[in-house]
């Protein structure tokens, strides 16, 4: 029996001596890089408002109506909320009442009105009960249930040094702690007060602007030194996320007989794709994976189908254990494709990222380990697709059918989920869990947040499966096809 290393060597020699295949692999790497170049060069976000960055480095939404005063030193602030109602835009200047789950009204202590500055807040929400939130990403639940005139919520925020504690109460006398957080970066003087925010609501495949109005009473500040009057301000009127909000309700505050009515829109939360449409992702930069995918599918298919013209007898005579021949081919093909994909992605990400940033495009951040995962994952995606093509080529014996089948099963589901926004979420979810297109999860950098209601679909870059799990789906298809190919190759007359 021919030793496996010799079979590998033979297959490698076969591969590298066909100029077209080597060119195909170079083209694979080039296409990944060229599309990154194109995406980077063609983008232009000069003059767009800067994306606010939270203390953790992530992009955030930080626009809301803020009724505030400076507060120096330790102190606490208390309020009662008797109403929070929202309106949803259903057309230009056409607002209709509706429930916005994460509409927010409550108290906030914030390190100034700069967007992205540290804060801690306690609030009532549209349908998520009382929450204590800080620094955009952290969220702790308090009393459940909606707020109304018969179900008033009392909120208190207490600063003591770095520590901020949130309390809630149903009657203003019996208080329970919701949470305590430490804000290291907080200065001695902060802005404290009431806020109202109302994020865009999910409607079908997109989002629509909303506006919320809350009725407060019993405002009390204890300890600390306050300024001399309350000011109502829109935080972040010119932010990327705020651009789509209704034009007229820019927020307002009115006071009558001890009750304060505040109207506001916007959100204090981590940014997601739908709320930050102008931002790019590494997955966008790696769109060249598509043409590259077609190239590796063609080469992968030809690597076996050309043998069927006349060479397969020679190959099988040289290594009579057919499944070993197939394994050797898969190993060589996978390794070569992986290397090409690795080179392409490793160049494309920093290059495309640099060009995009030069052109003023904000990219959703990715840690080095995430970037490494994407580079390795993209290379693995291409390698796995080439092996799937090899298996399909073995099964079909004809390159035309194999190339079309593999391209279609990977690209068509992707086109359906990533290009057609109106396909229902249930269907896209199903397509990106079960079809080979699931593998594109490996390029995801955007993070979904439970406290942000948004469109978390593949169209927006959110895949239902974890990165490696998505790749595993494609790998599963490749392995099953390869096993079927081995069986067929074994049974069939060559």
């Amino acid at each position: 029996m021919t030793p496996f290393p010799q079979l590998l060597h033979a297959e490698w020699t076969k591969f590298r001596t066909i100029r077209g295949w080597v060119a195909g692999m170079i083209a694979t790497a080039l296409m990944v890089v060229l599309v990154a170049l194109l995406a980077g060069v063609s983008s232009d976000q000069h003059g767009a408002p800067p994306v606010p960055i939270g203390p953790g480095g992530e992009p955030v939404n930080d626009s809301f109506y803020f009724v505030h005063q400076p507060l120096t030193g330790n102190g606490s602030i208390t309020i009662s909320v008797s109403s929070l109602t929202s309106s949803i835009a259903s057309g230009p200047a056409d607002l209709r009442p509706g429930t916005v789950p994460w509409a927010k009204a409550g108290l906030i202590i914030k390190d100034g009105t700069r967007q992205g500055s540290p804060y801690a807040a306690i609030m009532v929400t549209g349908s998520q009960g009382v929450r204590m939130q800080d620094n955009y990403v952290n969220d702790t639940p308090g009393l459940p249930g909606p707020v109304s005139a018969t179900s008033v919520r009392w909120l208190r925020l207490d600063r003591s040094g770095d520590a901020i504690t949130g309390y809630n109460s149903t009657d203003g006398t019996h208080w329970t702690t919701v949470g305590a957080v430490r804000l290291e970066e907080l200065g001695s003087t902060v802005q404290a007060g009431l806020f109202v925010a109302s994020p865009d609501a999910v409607q079908g495949p997109g989002t629509v602007p909303t506006v919320a109005t809350a009725v407060f009473a019993d405002l009390r500040v204890q300890g600390g030194r306050l300024g001399d009057h309350w000011t109502g301000d829109q935080v972040g009127p010119e932010s990327p996320s705020f651009a789509g909000s209704p034009p007229n309700p820019s927020g307002s505050v009115t006071e009558s007989g001890g009750s304060i009515t505040v109207t506001g829109t916007g959100d204090i939360a981590p940014a997601v794709r739908a709320s930050l449409g102008t931002a790019g992702t590494i997955a966008d930069i790696l769109t060249g994976t598509f043409p590259a995918l077609i190239a590796v599918i063609v080469v992968g298919t030809l690597f076996i189908t050309t043998e069927y013209r006349d060479l397969i007898h020679v190959t099988l005579a040289a290594g009579p254990r057919r499944s070993r021949v197939l394994a050797a081919k898969a190993t060589v093909l996978g390794t070569v494709t992986f290397t090409a994909g690795l080179a392409g992605a490793a160049i494309a990400i920093p290059l495309g990222g640099h060009l995009a940033r030069v052109n003023g495009v904000y990219l959703f951040p990715a840690t080095s380990s995430t970037q490494l995962r994407i580079v390795l994952g993209t290379a693995a995606l291409l390698a796995t697709a080439s092996i799937l093509a090899l298996a399909a080529g073995t099964l079909f014996r004809r390159s035309a059918g194999a190339v079309t089948a593999v391209t279609t099963v990977i690209v068509l589901p992707y086109l359906m989920v990533a290009q057609i926004p109106f396909i229902p979420a249930g269907v896209t979810d199903w397509l990106t869990r079960l079809t080979p297109a699931a593998a594109f999860a490996v390029q995801q950098t955007v993070v979904p947040y439970h406290q942000v209601a948004s469109v978390y679909t593949p169209y927006n870059g959110y895949y239902p499966l974890a990165p490696w799990a998505g790749l595993a789906v494609l790998a599963g298809y490749a392995l099953v096809s390869l096993a079927a190919a081995a069986v067929v190759l074994h049974r069939r007359d060559a």
Binding site: G20, V35, L38, A39, S42, S43, D44, Q45, G204, G280, D284, I285, T287, F290, P291, I294, A295, I297, V298, T301, L302, T305, R309, A356, N359, V361, R398, S399, A400, G401, A402, V403, T404, T407, T408, V411, L412, Y414, L415, A418, Q419, F422, I423, P424, G426, V427
Partner: protein
């Protein structure tokens, strides 16, 4: 020419492959259209869907099989060496390719008519039970409706033009796998690439010149002013692609040794 045509027709009808591919194209087109129309719902008036276009979504899958069929018409001859016999029988090479083009147009238009009408019928039967009712502003799909008729006829022409584009590319490239890779790349690349092009002007231009993105505008019946290109002009772009590919193919076929 008449003889070459008769000969090409004999070639295509004496193989079982093309028959199965045409049946598969019809089945795939109708199946995807059924699947898509089955998952769409319309809860209230003005839900913003183009029901004609939805019903004809299957064309996007069916075209893949049309591509295989058209590519194999010429690359199948190159892979066995039969092209030598064909050109010996009909030495005027442009005539050989023209005869192939006419034959493939005929069979694809025939199968395409069944596929497209089947998809439309599926939409007509399925959509009303998913909220696409006259009350919501969606009368049942009908060929009596001008834009729907245009979309239907246009989709058949679209499939035929895809076949001609494929024939042209395959004549240039000769190898079937590479041809199909090139064609699918040409078709799918623009829709995949366009969203990452930041400049809206370039993005629009890309969608105007992409053979699939431009060609499929023929299926749109609503929101016509938002299309990157008008429906018939879009089909014209695809025609230009197919013509260019066929001309380049003819030229190379004449210049190269068979």
């Amino acid at each position: 020419m008449r003889l070459a045509l008769r000969s090409e027709w004999t070639k295509i009808r004496t193989l079982t492959g093309p028959r199965w591919l045409l049946l598969a194209a019809i089945a795939a087109t109708v199946a995807l259209s059924v699947a898509v129309t089955s998952v769409m719902t319309c809860a209230a008036a003005g839900c913003g869907h183009d029901t004609t276009k939805l019903s004809l979504t299957g064309v996007q899958l069916g075209q893949a099989l049309v591509v295989i069929l058209a590519v194999l018409v010429i690359s199948g001859e190159y892979s066995t060496g039969m092209i030598g016999i064909s050109l010996t029988a009909v030495p005027r090479r442009a005539i050989v390719l023209t005869a192939k083009a006419i034959t493939i147009t005929g069979v694809v238009a025939g199968a395409g008519t069944i596929a497209v009408l089947g998809s439309l019928l599926a939409g007509r039967l399925i959509l009303p039970s998913h909220g696409f009712t006259p009350a919501h502003g969606y009368p049942p799909l009908s060929l009596a409706d001008g834009p729907t008729l245009r979309a239907t006829v246009g989709s058949i022409l679209y499939l035929a033009l895809i076949a001609l584009l494929s024939l042209g590319v395959a004549t240039i490239v000769r190898d079937s796998a590479t041809s199909i890779g090139v064609i699918l790349g040409l078709l799918y690349l623009v829709p995949v690439l366009a969203p990452v092009i930041g400049d809206p002007h370039w993005q629009r231009l890309l969608q105007q010149i992409g053979p699939m993105s431009a060609g499929l505008t023929i299926q749109a019946t609503t929101d016509l002013h938002n299309l990157p290109i008008t429906p018939w002009a879009g089909l014209g772009v695809l025609t230009a692609w197919a013509t260019a590919a066929l001309l380049a193919g003819t030229l190379l076929l004449r210049l190269r040794d068979a």
